[in-house]
């Protein structure tokens, strides 16, 4: 029943090594601090214990000392800050060519959909040595995607996307936890991340004859009538979506935003929120008409219109069938 006493978690991503290094540094520095303070306390406690005929020597204080023991720790803390900020910045900046996995969290399960259309529940297969970007949203409450072995965590919010990325380094099966309290079965909202060797992964991916996500999106794009306005000829009442993704968009009110997943999502659900310069706010909202999964497909389709990107993963080839004329 009692196994070994675990002291260190599995380390299976590029990020895990970075965080571990930082952790060891923090442990070392604070270990030294603790040792210092405890030693001094103990020495004082013994050396200056009450003795007959000996009185305490009153000391006013020392400004030099106060300044010293403010500035030196603060400088050390700045190192913590910068190191931590660099890791955080890396964690939050997904590489351009990452394999994307769409995630929908709900009470109390994780639903994943690969670009190739493969769907999984509470289990996610990823390859070793390739960047994977999670594009996540929630159907109900706030959840949190936490893989201890990768040292990554990101809250999954209803009503918008949050993203996160990792590159697994070691094949194996790792815990996936929901770490934001989400109701009754919070502790049951767990799963497994299965990291596979690339060859196994390709085999697994080609298993089912799924329809790629972007193709699903393309069909939806036609069914919902989006094509009538969003087209490249001048009669289009909406902006042409080809090549939009990832580029800055000039808005009517003069602001410029980057067309990321959240922007596309928002433009579908709340078309009036950010009007592109030169267009009228005529698009109806699709709030309540498309599910989160359909939304993911639409977003993926619009992304595929951005044109062929270098290093697109081989497992998902959605741009192939999509014509920029649409």
């Amino acid at each position: 029943m009692f196994g070994h006493l675990p002291l260190w978690p599995d380390s299976a991503s590029t990020n895990a090594g970075n965080v571990d290094a930082l952790y060891i540094f923090l442990l070392l520095v604070s270990g030294i601090m603790i040792a210092l303070i405890f030693t001094v306390l103990t020495v004082f406690a013994i050396r200056f214990r009450k003795r007959r005929g000996q009185r305490a020597v009153q000391i006013e204080g020392s400004h030099q000392l106060e300044v010293t023991w403010s500035i030196i720790p603060f400088c050390v803390m700045l190192v913590f800050y910068i190191w931590g900020a660099v890791i955080y910045f890396q964690e939050r900046t997904p590489p351009q060519d990452a394999t994307e996995v769409y995630t929908v969290a709900k009470q109390w399960m994780w639903k994943f959909e690969h670009k190739g259309g493969q769907r999984e529940i509470n289990e996610l297969h990823v390859p070793v040595g390739r960047d994977v970007k999670m594009i996540m949203t929630s159907q109900d409450v706030i959840h949190s995607f936490f893989v201890p072995a990768f040292r990554i965590k990101q809250d999954v919010l209803p009503g918008r996307y949050t993203t996160l990325w990792f590159r697994a380094t070691k094949a194996g099966t790792y815990h996936l936890f929901c770490s934001q309290y989400c109701g009754t079965q919070h502790s049951g909202m767990v799963g497994w991340i299965k990291v596979m060797e690339p060859s196994d992964y390709e085999a697994w991916m080609s298993g089912g004859g799924n329809q790629p996500l972007a193709v699903t999106g393309q069909k939806l794009f036609a069914e919902l009538g989006c094509v009538t306005c969003h087209r490249s000829d001048t009669q289009g009442r909406g902006p042409d979506l080809a090549g939009v993704f990832g580029k800055p968009v000039l808005l009517q009110d003069g602001r410029t935003v980057t067309a990321d997943e959240n922007y596309i999502r928002e433009s579908i659900l709340e078309p009036g929120a950010k009007i592109v310069q030169g267009f009228k706010p005529v698009m109806p909202t699709f709030q309540g008409q498309v599910s989160d999964e359909q939304l993911n497909a639409l977003v993926d389709y619009v992304k595929s219109l951005a044109g062929p990107q270098s290093g697109r993963p081989a497992d998902s080839n959605p741009a192939a069938g999509a014509s920029p004329q649409l």
Partner: protein, 109 residues
């Protein structure tokens, strides 16, 4: 009793309060009414983003008049009152500014 508080050291009978003159009461009242008229009028003129700024500036001027004259802050010898007001505004500013920092900077990427 001067010992109780440094602020009251020089005014043993601190009770002696400022009594506002009728004229100044009415003058402030008229100023507040004028401010109201002005802010409503300004709201109907298209000033672009300045509409909000003008509205808030006039509101702040009105609020300052009320605080200084109607709430007698101008006449009080008590520095502490000012300190309380300033710290309330300061912490309100912290709340608004740092929250908005998050919302505005979310668009940056």
């Amino acid at each position: 009793m001067s010992d109780h508080n440094s602020a009251s050291e020089h005014t043993p009978e601190h009770i002696s309060e400022h009594i506002s003159s009728l004229g100044s009461c009415l003058a402030i009242w008229l100023a507040l009414l004028a401010g109201t008229t002005l802010t409503v009028a300004a709201a109907f003129i298209d000033l672009g983003p300045f509409n909000t700024i003008v509205a808030l500036t006039i509101a702040t001027i009105k609020a300052t008049l009320v605080v200084l004259f109607y709430m007698h802050v101008k006449y009080t010898h008590e520095k502490l009152t000012g300190l309380v007001i300033v710290s309330a505004i300061f912490f309100l500013f912290i709340l608004l500014a740092l929250s908005m920092a998050d919302y505005t900077m979310r668009l940056w990427r």
